[in-house]
């Protein structure tokens, strides 16, 4: 079938070159906007004839017409014009902008559309919302901008990958990330490279795209908008369009900014004073001895002796007045070294964190003639986060070129080259290499990086396995260098004024080189006398697509048809070389090592598709559209390999009806609806195949073993999406906005179904589960002031989502853990009719105010050991049953944005908020622990709020030395209200009046300030409330406050 389609397309394509128009005059015209810039894609039609064409990217068109014809010029976003030809052969037309938010032109799946006539659900973010922020990828800048889209930044590390969820969570095991499309081509996203096998950090592949090169971003949300992307569209689609040159003389744009991050956005488990900490540790240790049967004097002595061995070696002496459990421990300095540390404590926070620097410099040159337009850019960005040792830099260049060849053909080439380098840190509860955990929990200010006796560097471990980072930092290194080359080559052929054929061929290669080294002195390298690993991983993506677009107007009827096919090849490979037993600490290379080890293989998947869409509208009043796509993927077995995805949509532009048109207060009113099916592919390339793997090597010989019991019928996860929307504009857009209802049924979800381990395996993949996401999106805005030199707009968006698990294999709940940081920090349960992010654990009832003990609700239907607040409870957590203790999904989230422009001055505020839902603080088991981890630091809040005979109002339990594991239980004790409001961005810019600038050859110049995360209002006070997509807070590097100052010039 594909072949027949192709042959006919070729025939049509080749044949149409012969078409000749006679008996008319040829009219050439140029269409530009009020500023003189060329406007492409303007429809130029001859009134009453049905003949039409559209302008090219230089705003030029030619059309054969009778000398007395009337041209109708229409373009999305501009006022319609009618022009009598009167025998002229050339026309110069200037368009007036239609000032209406609903009339934006946006890039959508395989084409463009006017927002007011589009039947799907889509939102547009323009570059001015992104390009002045101190971000390495555009993703974080989407926070709070688009209803239904949620950005979760789990780490403040430079180069890290945020998570994006569009309209909830639709999968348990496959991806929940949207599909990214850049300049018409699906691209790879997520974290690249293999460093994740060695360090818990991420290397965001999207950061290879310079945010300043982006013109617009369109977010496709419903089936009507996204089903044309078929099997990958279930989580929505983010379409990025890069900048194009505009007709005119070369324009040089220079932009430079410097951001500094002197502090975190919030408190982060700020530690108690040394005195408080040592007093608390005293109580814990003392209690442990009393429990062991010692008397008061002996217990006191034991503790002070222990202080001597643990802290005394750093130059301190300890004594107490009495011998009770609660004593003030006097800390004195020892005088037998070269340094007396009396009253001096080491500031680890100061040693391990710095003022972050974000610096970006962009240079772009763009311009165009009638036949050619170009945009080129060169950019250098560096992001040194607040953590010493976490640096990111990027150098990138782009050339976007469009060239007309003859009358009918246009060639486009978008080439992006980027190189990034990332040095990362462990973003996990890893006691050895996470500085946040170290400074908050392990590194007592009583520990010093030098020996007080000799002044030499301290190399031994401190208590609780802490180590001296200042020494060990010299004994290891890591880096990930990523090179990106992407070339999108396109050929557009205007066969007929109504018919365009476009072929795109794209080549996208991402190569990451990861390097990680531990010296023989580092504890990770000591057992092998040093180890160094080099990994090169490569992702190649080839996409070829050909589409034909037919647009025609018959009187009041407008028809638009699209048909095409697409093929995609994805190949990933990696080569790893590891060297152990290194000859010298100066050589960090594999080839010098005594012992070598290597691995290399490749994997991938391919896809073929045919796609089509039909759109119809009558008088821009009644709209209908349908799309169909058929995908075949190598990720599925031969039987279920091909799947069909489609959508139907309609809309009614009520404002065009005469009975509304008369109402002056209503300037826009439209309803639309859609229904359709799209899908998500299985996460694994080979999930349907039962395989024998050869990773079980034995005594240097190959060893083979079955690696799974696969289901050959494993198939797509399907999404059935309904969307209903009302859009309005009232009182000359004094109020505008939309209300949108969506319902997304995700079915055949791939579950890792636990199977009896007696089979030899723990899981098998099956299409079982069902999830439902439904909700409402509101967007409300106002052009409060709309004057020539004073504009003020404000908008608010809110998304209410109910995200529930509907069906599970055999109805059996599935318990799972937050995968972030690989530290099993929080437990969740998928249970039918419960939230998709239901925290599962023990229910903590709080502290008994009589004795300071932890009280647990037993939740087992009994009265427990005693009743607490009327419910069965116990002091013993092992008597409590696990239950759902909270929901991480917020009730509502969104953003508030406002922009004021007065003369050359503009101010923008961008707030993001979340109301409702819980967050799980996985750090509190460390910093608010009841004494289980002896020599660890407590947070100030725990010292303040821990129950003691002197503080019987304490919300946290009494400290104990009896190894109570209460704090280690995943329980509601660590759950907090996740609501917050944050000023994500404030931007202030001033356009320097042209009078001054033109004299020195500058067209315009702007100075700007951007503040990120400057204000946070949160119910949860201990750490940053902006948590990851699972609603958990771990020891990830938090978000800083960043103050960015910049300059922009146009020559």
């Amino acid at each position: 079938m594909n072949k027949i389609l192709l042959t006919s397309l070729c025939t049509v394509a080749c044949g149409s070159l012969q078409v000749v128009h006679a008996q008319q005059i040829q009219v050439a015209g140029k269409i530009s906007d009020a500023n003189g810039a060329a406007v492409p894609d303007v429809t130029v039609s001859i009134k009453g004839s049905g003949t039409a064409t559209s302008t090219n990217s230089n705003g030029l068109f030619t059309l054969n017409a009778n000398p007395d014809a009337t041209f109708v010029i229409s373009a999305v976003g501009y006022q319609k014009q009618e022009i009598k030809l009167n025998g002229r052969k050339t026309l110069t037309i200037s368009l007036q902008k239609e000032e209406n938010a609903l009339d934006e032109v946006m890039v959508v799946a395989y084409g463009t559309a006017k927002k007011s006539t589009y039947t799907g659900s889509a939102a547009v973010v323009k570059n001015d919302a992104i390009d002045k922020q101190p971000v390495t990828s555009f993703q974080t800048a989407l926070t709070g901008r688009v209803p239904g889209l949620q950005v979760s930044t789990s780490s403040g590390q430079a180069g890290s990958t945020p998570a994006i969820r569009i309209r909830g969570i639709g999968s348990m095991n496959a991806s929940n990330e949207p599909l990214y499309v850049i300049d018409g081509v699906p691209v790879v996203s997520g974290s690249t490279g293999q460093m994740n096998d060695y360090l818990v950090n991420s290397n965001n592949v999207m950061s290879t795209l310079n945010p300043s090169d982006i013109e617009t971003i369109t977010v496709l949300k419903d089936a009507a908008a996204s089903s044309l992307y078929g099997s990958r569209a279930a989580n929505g689609v983010i379409i990025i369009t890069t900048k194009k040159g505009k007709n005119g003389a070369p324009k040089i744009n220079l932009k430079s900014s410097l951001g500094i991050s002197p502090s975190w956005a919030t408190d982060n488990n700020e530690t108690a004073s040394v005195q408080d900490q040592i007093d608390m540790l005293y109580s814990v240790l003392y209690d442990s001895r009393i429990a062991g049967g010692l008397n008061e004097t002996a217990a006191n002595k034991w503790v002070l002796d222990r202080f001597k061995t643990r802290f005394g070696i750093h130059g301190y002496g300890f004594s107490t007045e009495g011998t009770s459990m609660y004593e003030k421990v006097n800390i004195t300095g020892l005088t037998d070294g070269i340094e007396n540390r009396e009253g001096k404590y080491y500031d680890w926070n100061d040693a391990l964190f710095r003022t972050g620097i974000f610096n970006t410099n962009d240079l772009s040159v763009s311009g165009g003639t009638d036949n050619t337009n170009y945009y080129t850019s060169l950019s250098y960005t560096q992001d040194k986060s607040r953590v010493i040792l976490n640096d990111y830099n990027r150098i990138s260049g782009r050339v976007n070129l469009n060239q007309k060849i003859g009358k009918y053909l246009e060639f486009g080439s978008n080439i992006n080259i980027a190189k990034t380098k990332l040095v990362g840190m462990n973003d996990t509860r890893n006691t050895g290499s996470n500085y946040l955990l170290q400074t908050r929990n392990l590194l007592w200010p009583l520990y010093w990086p030098t020996d007080y006796k000799t002044g030499n560097e301290w190399t031994a471990r401190y208590g609780s396995l802490a180590y001296n980072p200042l020494y060990y930092n010299k004994e290891w290194e890591n880096s990930s260098k990523t090179s990106k080359i992407s070339a999108v080559e396109s050929l557009t052929l205007k066969l007929l004024p109504e018919l365009t054929v476009k072929t795109i061929f794209s080549y996208d290669e991402t190569e990451s080189k990861d390097h990680i080294y531990y010296s023989a002195k580092h504890y990770n390298g000591s057992s092998t006398n040093g180890v160094v690993t080099e990994v090169t991983s490569n992702i190649q993506k080839l996409v070829s697509s050909t589409t034909a677009n037919y647009n025609k107007t018959f009187g009041l009827h407008h028809v638009s048809l699209l048909a095409g096919f697409e093929a995609e090849k994805n190949e990933s490979s990696f080569v790893r070389a590891t060297g152990k037993d290194l000859p010298s600490s100066a050589l960090h290379t594999v080839s010098t090592a005594g012992q070598l080890d290597a691995g290399a293989y490749s994997w991938g998947n391919n896809m073929m598709s045919v796609l089509s869409r039909a759109e119809y509208n009558f008088d821009e009043r009644y709209f209908a559209s349908a799309s169909f796509r058929r995908d075949g993927s190598s990720k599925l077995g031969p039987l279920p390999r091909w799947g069909n995805f489609w959508s139907l949509a309609g809309s009614w532009n009520i404002a065009k009806e005469s009975f509304i048109a008369q109402v002056e207060d209503i300037n826009a009113l439209r309803i639309r609806g859609s229904y359709g099916i799209n899908a998500t592919l299985p996460p694994s390339d080979f999930g349907w195949r039962s395989l024998t793997s050869y990773s079980n090597k034995y005594m240097t010989q190959p060893g083979g073993a079955l690696s799974n019991i696969a289901d050959p019928n494993l198939t797509w996860e399907r999404n059935y999406t309904t969307n209903l929307a009302l859009e309005f504009g009232l009182f000359d857009n004094k109020i505008f906005g939309s209300v949108e209802y969506f319902n997304r049924d995700s079915k055949d979800l791939i579950q890792q179904v636990p199977i009896s381990t007696i089979t030899g395996f723990s899981y098998t993949l099956k299409n079982i589960g069902e999830i439902n996401n439904k909700g409402l999106e509101f967007e409300l805005g106002s052009d409060i002031i709309k004057k020539q030199d004073f504009r003020w707009t404000a908008s608010l968006n809110a998304t209410f989502i109910d995200s529930k698990v509907i069906k599970l294999s055999g109805g059996k709940p599935i318990i799972w853990y937050d995968p972030t940081g690989k530290d099993d920090r929080a437990r969740f349960i998928y249970q039918e009719n419960q939230s998709t992010l239901a925290f599962y654990g023990l229910e903590w009832a709080g502290v008994n105010k009589e004795n300071g003990k932890n009280v647990w609700y037993t939740n087992d239907g009994t009265e427990g050991d005693f009743l607490f607040e009327g419910r069965g409870a116990s002091y013993n957590y092992t008597k409590a049953q696990q239950t759902i203790i909270g929901n991480a999904n917020p009730k509502v989230y969104g953003g508030i944005n406002t922009d004021v422009e007065y003369k050359g001055l503009s101010l923008g505020l961008n707030f993001a908020y979340k109301i409702g839902g819980k967050l799980y603080d996985a750090t509190s088991k460390d910093v608010a622990d009841d004494g289980y981890y002896w020599e660890r630091i407590h947070a100030q809040y725990f010292v303040d709020e821990s129950w003691s005979p002197n503080n019987t109002d304490g919300n946290f339990p009494i400290v104990s030395g009896r190894d109570l594991e209460d704090v280690n239980q995943i329980s509601s004790r660590h759950l907090y209200d996740a609501s917050y409001l944050r000023l994500k961005n404030i931007s202030l810019s001033y356009k320097i009046p042209n009078d001054y600038l033109s004299k020195i050859g500058i067209n315009n110049a702007r100075i700007f300030f951007n503040g990120s995360n400057l204000l946070t209002f949160s119910k949860y006070k201990y750490m940053d409330p902006e948590v990851n997509q699972y609603g958990t807070r771990g020891w990830e590097i938090p978000t800083p406050k960043t103050y960015t100052f910049g300059l922009e010039f146009n020559f």
């Binding site: 080749c14 990770n524 190598s634 034995y698 007696i758 089979t759």
Partner: protein, 485 residues
Amino acid sequence: MRKLFIASCIFISFSVTSCKDFLDVKPTNSGDAETSIQTAADAKVIVNGVMSILSNRDYYGRNFPLYADVKGGDFTIFAAGRGFDYLYTFNHSASSNSYSSVWTQGFNAIGQINNLLKNIESLKATGSLENFNSYEGQALTARALVNFDLVRLYGEPYNENKAAWGIPIITKSLKADAQELRSTVEDTYKQILLDLKAAETLLPKTKLNGYLNYYANKALQARVYLYMEDYPNALAAAQEVINSKVYTLYSNTAWVDSWKSEFGTESIFELGIYPNETDLGNSSLGAYFRRSAHGSSAILGNFMASDYFLARLKQDDTDVRWGVMARDETAATRLGAIYKYSGGVNLEGDKKSSNSTAVNFKVIRLSEVYLMAAEAALKSDKALAASYLNEIRKRSPKLSLTNESTISLDVIAEERSKELAGEGHRFFDMIRWNKKIEFNDELGSINTIHRTKTIDRSLNKTILPIFTDEINANPGIGAQQNPGY
């Protein structure tokens, strides 16, 4: 320009015609499960895989021997929180610290074995002329070994209650939805012997370093019979190994150095643990018994010999087995750190390299067979028993040899403790002998609510719970949970 079009049309047509192949992408590091065993060479690769699974950290590479040593009273902990203390304190439940890794790893091995046996059977049925005997014999013996290990972890002792639940007996490939239930301890032992007997004739009698041969099978039979208290059969099996002379005991001078090399003269079944394979680096079995911070700050000094074990060894200060003991963190004079699986007290390893963690695990060595022979002969022929025991007892030169009047189970038990410390026997021995196990809790001031200082096999936690995940996926087995969980 027309040429350009035609060219691109042709190009696109080409890419479309190969549609079927285009969508058939195969992995490059795995083979198709259905067709991966065709020849004896393929069978050998799968046997390698099985041995690799056995030597994995979840099984003989660490967790299984660790279990038997840490719980047996010969070892203790100095501080809680260094890892695996829950083994020492018997803090197990179905949902936490269930220590299910040996179960999952063991059944994975059984799944691989059954798949291999099925393939060999069908290849033979279709007329393959390849010789699969050794691989079939190894597979059957390995299945018996896994079943035996699992029934020791999960079943009540054979000599206490053989009608209790043993483990599920799996002899064929299972589908993903299979939900097999437990057999009795008695039936489990029956299957173990069935497999061992069936394998006997298939296995070569030559040494097979790193693999199972005829004598490994026989030595395992001796062990199984001993656990069943079938002394005549145990003795016969042990004697066949001893009398074959394929293996010889280490002399006193060679004993310490025997830990510094692979496949010594005593090694009847030794699992190869190699760098970049199942080597665990600082988490290896040997690393858990070293002195804290010895060689690396990642060495935590998890486990050290108990006062009781040291007192036993101190019966003779010239006992050759002091050669693998070195000081622990508590005092320079307390030689509580054991270095068998570090190659030696100077971290020599067993492969003449700087790597001291990739040290092979000796599953069965000849010394144990002598001790088994002594124990098996004890009831019927005390003189014979003494002769076998004395061969090992010679390693304490200052101690007098035993004779038919001085030999007893206690003497054999003491010798087993000294000779096999750190090799994964003590706990199972104490349980099958129904002896009291005393823990040296005072050394590190350890308090635990999960057991008393002294226990015996009446404590329910001397066998492991069927873990929650298995019960969830296989609800029928929930009714067969071990008592007290």
